[in-house]
């Protein structure tokens, strides 16, 4: 049996004696007998570290690690510099709690302040929070924060990540907002539908950019429609794309959200990732979650603290802007390290290479019968359609250690490229697919 309890049986007995008890059972005596477990838990006996390691390694080996990945759809394999994991393994950072005690948490607080700055720089927005759970949840929180007393309707583009749509719906079922799905048309949000249906009860319009199919939306126009109706405009964005594509601020968004996973976090079977949220100055006090601010200590030394806590659950309870407490702080740290290691040029380059490679692969696939559906500009994802079900093709790739695109139904595949994919790999895909 493994155990992390230092005190020996003798020491426990000694401690009990010192405080006037005979046995540990005495400390549990007040618990009603009828609820106590009889005969112990029905779980396996504890194991030594050697056994646990062996068993966990065995479990991990049942997963297939693909050397080459052309699948995105919400989770992206970008390059992660070695320094990222080196930093987040530092135990003073790893094993700390939320930095309530500012005097001994300046390192963590400063790292969040730096993260907030970088998110603002990347999105062009005025203020950022210290992160929420992930992109989908950030979208739901973003919609929730736009709710006003007389505006309880949210227009959500159908061309967003399905999990994000579902999450927004769950949250809105909770907070009572009405969801209107703006249909997709030719792979993008149907602007005409929005124009027609938006009204003065509308709290916000949410789109994803680039959208689920990789397409760039007419983001400027959508924002204008939203603002024309007095609604807020929320954009869900891919942070890597912001290296080369207009910022939400430039498109006129009031709130920008997204998933920070592409910025230095591993695929990890879906998590932990990170949701970033940024907004205009005017919406600052509606942001959910932690926010770190700069201030001074009693000696006038600059330092950092959790601030604007009047928004939060531990102060406002049921009137809080959100219930969020633990967020994804260590992931925010990783994102900060990633952005510093890549730098402005590195992020631009990652974006440029991702989109360039996607365009190369799209053109090559198009030539061999996987017709590219995307009509306008796309970033690093695109959809092909083929007459035959792509299942055979994807299986053939799998056998070569390649995770192909994500199947959308029986004829369509959503592909993704990043800077990790080489031309050689892409040519191999084409070669394999030709043979199928």
């Amino acid at each position: 049996m493994g155990s992390y309890v230092p005190n020996t049986l003798e020491e426990r007995q000694e401690m009990l004696k010192e405080i006037g008890y005979n046995s540990i059972d005495d400390l549990f005596a007040h618990i009603p007998e009828e609820v106590k477990i009889k005969g112990g838990l029905n779980i396996p006996e504890g194991k030594s570290e050697l056994e646990v390691r062996r068993e966990m390694e065995n479990i991990a080996s049942k997963n297939q690690v693909f050397k080459t990945i052309f699948r995105g759809a919400g989770a992206y394999r970008h390059f992660i510099p070695s320094i990222v994991n080196s930093v987040i393994s530092k135990e003073n950072l790893l094993t700390a709690y939320t930095p309530y005690q500012a005097e001994i948490s300046q390192g963590i607080l400063q790292s969040i302040f730096e993260y907030q700055t970088m998110i603002c720089d990347l999105t062009g927005m005025d203020v950022s929070n210290a992160c929420v759970y992930d992109g989908a949840e950030a979208a739901a929180e973003g919609v929730a924060m736009c709710q006003e007393r007389k505006r309880k309707k949210a227009f959500i583009s159908a061309a967003i990540l399905p999990d994000a749509m579902s999450t927004i719906k769950t949250y809105c079922h909770g907070n009572g907002m009405e969801i209107v799905e703006i249909p997709e048309k030719d792979g993008v949000t149907d602007l005409d539908y929005l124009k027609e249906h938006i009204d003065d009860k509308t709290a916000c319009v949410y789109i994803q950019h680039p959208n689920y199919y990789g397409n760039l939306e007419d983001a400027q126009a959508i924002g204008e429609v939203a603002h024309g109706a007095g609604a807020k405009y929320i954009m869900g964005v891919n942070p890597i794309s912001l290296g080369i594509i207009k910022t939400p601020a430039e498109y006129g968004a009031d709130v920008a959200v997204g998933d920070g996973q592409p910025l230095g976090l591993p695929l990890g079977f879906g998590g932990p990732y990170l949701g970033f949220m940024a907004a205009t100055e005017g919406m600052m006090r509606k942001l959910p979650g932690r926010i770190v601010g700069q201030t001074e200590d009693h000696n006038g030394k600059i330092g950092y603290v959790l601030t604007l806590q009047a928004r939060e659950q531990h102060i406002r309870r049921e009137k809080a802007s959100s219930n969020i407490c633990s967020n994804q702080a260590l992931c925010a740290l990783a994102v900060g390290v990633y952005m510093s290691a890549m730098g402005s040029e590195g992020i631009k380059e990652a974006a440029l290479q991702s989109t360039s490679k996607a365009h190369y692969l799209a053109a090559e696939l198009d030539k061999i019968g996987f017709k590219v559906e995307n009509k306008g500009e796309f970033f690093h994802e695109f959809v092909t359609v083929s007459e035959k079900c792509p299942c055979e093709a994807l299986k053939a790739l799998e056998e070569h250690g390649i995770l192909g695109g994500y199947p959308l139904g029986n004829h369509r595949v959503l592909w993704c490229c990043t800077e990790m994919n080489t031309k050689e790999e892409m040519d191999e895909v084409v070669r394999i697919l030709k043979e199928v």
């Binding site: 005596a29 007040h30 999450t167 932990p272 000696n299 219930n323």
Partner: protein, 477 residues
């Protein structure tokens, strides 16, 4: 110094090779206009920057961290190693099922362990944190009543001693919060509860042991009262470390529970996350769970969606790598280790409480569970030294302060949770420091009002921070 102030134009690290296909730029219409200001650093400077930040941080690994209701136990090293296996970190969440059998096994095994420990019938790992779990659990309760056409249940009962997340989560789920006052012994006031219950009651949210560290002796009565009026019982698992292996929430009459894997099951807090807040429930609620559950199908593991799922709470399947750490811990402790952990958590708390109660006023002077609450109201009156001041005095002694000013029902509260992974020597040392600080408060209160003096900064001006928010570095250009 901020990383931006260390940045120098033109510096940088060489991360990517040159592009091996033709470059495709976005059209002018969609091209970014504003310049980026991300740091430009050599690896040495960047690495030293974070070394500096780490030195100005304090984790469990740096010393005793008796932060009440947060269960800052030791984070085993093997957990980190297992979660770093490429067989877990490099798996895309949308790989075909047959290629992720290991990940599915992690979720299945974790569910089996945790359902047995909590007395629940099934579990979702999608919630990313405790509060997220609460919200999820309440949405299950909501779905349950809705599925029965029981539309009038609009209220959630929450004791006034609850964590702030409880009422906040209830509000997010669209419920009206009914706050009930605690009984003088810190437990649920049965009469108050009965009075609050009715046909508009959707459910009760309860922490047991409660937030003053006491196990509610009337627990079966409490859940019965709620069930009788048609409500469901939600168990806030924040304090499970006190009772796991001894009692099970499911056996106490609870229908839904969330766990904090980052508290009870030893995964690190990471400076505020990522955590993991899986939600377990009784069978009648399984049909509403979000995300997928793992089931066995034709000899392999498969993912299955609940029939009447409340929908997703976030992307994919939760903070998976955190679950890997928790499973590692569960497998290590097992059948005997789980109760051993909680028994020693309780022993350590009672030991400290008893060794301090002649000086410090305990909010409730009886056997506590894994944590206890002291009220410094008297001391404040006598010496002008507050709970905050004592907390800051602890900083100068290398000890992380207890939770301050919570629960709200105790004035000048300090809530101490030593956890089971601390040794008698550590407790004895902390007891000595607490006693010394008490005496300092009486004899030299000024020393505490000025504390801390050994930390990288002294007390911060929080009022100014909130009044004139500076939330980011302003670049010159």
């Amino acid at each position: 110094m901020l990383v931006f102030e260390k940045s120098r134009a033109g510096r940088g690290m060489s991360m990517l090779p040159a592009c091996d296909v033709e470059i495709k730029k976005p059209s002018e219409k969609d091209a970014r206009q504003k310049e980026l200001h991300l740091p430009q650093m050599s690896e040495n400077d960047l690495s030293r920057h974070y070394t500096e930040l780490a030195k100005k941080s304090h984790g469990v690994n740096d010393g005793f961290y008796p932060l009440g209701s947060c269960t800052m136990k030791y984070n085993p090293k093997i957990n980190e190693d297992m979660a770093a296996l490429p067989g877990f970190t490099q798996i895309h969440p949308l790989q075909p099922e047959h290629s992720v059998q290991g990940c599915l096994e992690v979720l299945k095994k974790s569910e089996e362990y945790l359902c047995e420990i909590t007395g629940m019938d099934g579990m979702t790992f999608q919630p990313a944190a405790g509060a997220h779990g609460e919200f999820t659990g309440l949405m299950l309760i909501k779905a349950y009543h809705e599925s029965r056409g029981d539309e009038k249940r609009t209220k959630i009962i929450v004791p006034d001693s609850a964590h702030g997340t409880n009422p906040a989560s209830a509000a997010m789920a669209g419920y009206k919060v009914v706050s009930i006052a605690s009984a003088p012994d810190g437990g649920v006031d049965l009469e108050g509860l009965k009075a609050a219950c009715g046909e508009d009651t959707a459910g009760l949210m309860l922490t047991n042991p409660n937030t003053v560290g006491l196990f509610d002796k009337n627990i079966l009565k409490i859940t019965e009262i709620v069930h009788e009026c048609g409500g469901l019982c939600y168990y806030d698992g924040a304090n499970l470390n006190a009772v796991m292996g001894t009692v099970r929430p499911g056996d106490m009459g609870f229908d839904v529970i969330h766990l904090n894997l980052h508290k009870t099951f030893s995964t690190p807090h990471g400076g505020g996350g990522p955590g993991s807040g899986p939600v377990g429930c009784k069978s009648m609620l399984l049909q509403f769970l979000p995300s997928y559950r793992v089931v066995e199908k034709e000899g392999a593991l498969a993912m299955e969606k609940a029939e009447h799922s409340i929908g997703e709470m976030k992307e994919f399947y939760g903070n998976f790598l955190v679950v890997v750490k928790a499973l590692t811990y569960l497998m290590t402790l097992g059948k005997e280790g789980i109760p051993e952990a909680s028994q020693n958590a309780v022993l350590n708390a009672n030991y400290m409480m008893n060794k301090l109660k002649d000086l410090y006023t305990m909010a409730y002077d009886e056997v506590c569970m894994h944590e206890f609450v002291m009220s410094l109201e008297d001391l404040k009156k006598k010496a002008g030294v507050s709970a905050m001041d004592i907390a800051k005095g602890l900083l100068d002694n290398g000890i992380h302060p207890p939770t301050m000013y919570f629960p709200l029902i105790v004035h000048e509260a300090l809530m101490v949770e030593p956890t089971e992974t601390e040794s008698k020597e550590v407790l004895d040392h902390a007891i000595e420091v607490f006693r010394k600080l008490y005496n300092d408060a009486l004899e030299n209160p000024e020393s505490l009002l000025q504390a801390p003096v050994t930390t990288p900064v002294t007390r911060m001006d929080e009022v100014e921070a909130a009044r004139h928010p500076v939330l980011k570095y302003e670049f010159e250009s």
